[in-house]
């Protein structure tokens, strides 16, 4: 059975293809970052399909932001942990 509408994963792939010349003219490190972003869009394909909006690129952008936000939170937590342990180290250093 064929489908009338493309699946969201197909839409992401179409979007990726439409950016291929843009991607080609990026440095390799920037290409890698772009790939990670589109991977995030694909990661939330089921939510995108469920929403079924007529401008799917918006949905993809928001999916990318979700993954970015999760990264920021993870990094913040790491910073807090590191600062706490350093503070702990330095106060111990003074005591000895």
């Amino acid at each position: 059975m064929g489908r009338t509408l493309a699946t969201f994963t197909q839409l992401v792939q179409q979007e990726i293809d439409s950016w291929s010349r843009y991607r080609r003219a990026l440095r390799r490190e920037d290409q890698q970052a772009l790939d990670v972003l589109f991977a995030a869009a694909r990661h939330h394909a089921s939510a995108g399909a469920y929403l079924a909006r007529e401008t799917p690129f918006e949905v993809m952008l928001l999916s990318m932001l979700i993954e970015q936000q999760k990264h920021v939170v993870t990094l913040q937590q790491k910073v807090v942990t590191l600062e706490t342990s350093r503070h702990h180290d330095s106060t111990q250093g003074m005591a000895s």
């Binding site: 003219a25 440095r27 390799r28 490190e29």
Partner: protein, 724 residues
Amino acid sequence: MVVWLLGEDGRRIRAVDPFVPTCYLTAPPSIREHLFRLLRRASCRISTREVERYELGALRPTPVLEVSVHAPAQFSSLTQHLIRACPDAQFFHVDVSLPQRYFYDRQLFPLVHCEAALTVEGRIQSIQALESPWDTDYGFPPLTIMELSPDSSSSNPNHGGRDSLVVRMDGEERLLEGDDADMVQRLNQLLVRQDPDILLTDWGDSYLLPRLMIMADRLRMALALNRDPHRSVGTRKPHSYFSYGRILSHAGARTLSGRLHLDRHNSFALAEMGLAGLIEQARVAKVDLQQMARTTTGTGITSMQLEIACRDGLLIPYRKQEPEAFKSALELLQTDQGGLVFAPIVGYHEQVGELDFSSMYPSIMVRFNISPETVNCRCCRDEPAARVPEIGHHTCRHRQGLVPRTLAPLLDKRVRYKRLMAAATQPAARAVLDQRQTALKWLLVVSFGYLGYKNARFGRIEAHESVTAYSRDLLLQAKEVAERQGYRMLHAIVDSLWLVKPGAVKADYDRLAQAITEQTRLSIGVEGLYHWIGFLPSRVNPLMPVPNQFVGLFDHGVMKIRGIEIRRSDAPLLVKRAQAEVLRCLSEARTLVELREQIPQALEIVRTYRRYLHDGHATVEELVITKSLSKEPQAYRHQTLSMIAAQELLARGMSLQAGDTIHYIITDADAAYPPDRARAVAGLDGTWSYDVSAYDNLLLKATLVLLMPLGVTATSLNESTAGC
């Protein structure tokens, strides 16, 4: 056609070759009767015949009338008359200079070593070249040179009169002084006695020759500037023209018969590539030396294309008219791009390699057969291999185009010169080879511009677009090969890439160049390895990178500098000197760590310069700012400093026009009364002072741009170097 020959016995011979130039035309039947009547009435012998000829890229021949003019001297006036009288006819071959057509027809070129059979009256019965213009081992012809200059050749004599003349020949120098009659008489004696082949002058076109001719005329004295007594001196009026967004002026010309007049101050070719380069261009382009010296390089490349067209029997249209085909907005967006430019990664980097495609654009034209008649040909529309990347054009796979045929031998000859240069042991021989390869480089450089220029004989915008499309694809291919091998691309402009990989040495970069050449089939080479190179930030926004603005230290000790004050003609000398000293200080470093260690010393240099400025020691020479007027001085709407200086000069009665150069000094940039802000150098008297803080600002900006990527901020630079 008058041909001057230098015999092996040293005689200079004026020979005449019975050359019959032809032109072609097509005319609607209604005006043919009128046309033939005009031809019958011509004052010289004319013969006609009906023939078929091809236009460039045409599949079917055009029936045309061939008109042969048996008196070359009348060819130009006759054809101009026909063009005016028959606006409905189409003309071909009418506006190619006759000496060029003579060279094409007889397979000769300027200064060729040749063999000729003459009658006693000096008529040429036969003449053949004994060498090819593509030979690299030709010698310098034994021509005698007389140099002629005003007694001080340093500045333009048109801006102030001088009355004596310096004549140099065979290492002997004579100063001609005295009244006009004396001067004309003594110069004439020298010309007759020495009979030089070349008259090499300073300001001969705009000043010396016109003045001498007027003097001789007024005094009714003989002045044998020409070797050929039957001809008068050729004269062309000065004119202004617009090129690459700038207004430039072209001095007039005085050309001689039987002798060559070359003006050092009115020749792009002489200035850029010397006499050896000029001769090289004249030989391959088949353009008379006096014209080649004064014309643009484009005339040379056009002549080479015309020769091939003539040899192929193609029609050369008078006033080309070929509009671009229509394009959609998206097509325009995709096709109307130039070469690719990547923003550099700002900062200093070590162990960087630079790779350059050699003669990228001409090589693309040859390799992919790009020419006005091969782009979007009818025969190869459906061949995938003929397709130009990104854009919808294709190029012909079956017939080699006119442009590639012109460029291929040039590229090949330049490679041979470069090889000879590398093998040359004597500096003098090397210098000549360098001038010759530079001459060819210029022909190659302009060839691309003529592919898309709407007035070019053989230009077509689609051909131009195809070249840039290929160039973008090739640069990206090069980047991809480099990145696959673990290199990081720091910067790339059109045909050059700056790459880095930890631990990579010269051999690695050579291997990379080899790999890219294999993949793209276009030659790329290692321009050099840098100990370090700094890509500098924008002055306006420190976070913004600027393409083609960098300083780098090659591993052989030479610095490569682009886009900063030291390279700019408008920056004050003091600022340039400070920048040069900071750079010299940085060039002591070999690594990034050493570069940072140089910072205190660099700051000390800035401090010294600031103190010098604050103490009021700076001289006019060190402070002068040079700007060119981009429009008529009356047309400026804002009170810019150069405009204020221009107004001051106008008030002093000097005449100024767009394109003129203004020299001024900033006296008080913030003054409420605009004339106090700047002063023209020409009007400076004893009572002037400079604006310390304005120059201090320029100094700080010029040095900050070098130091900022090393962690120095505007504030820290200002504070750490303020100690007066």
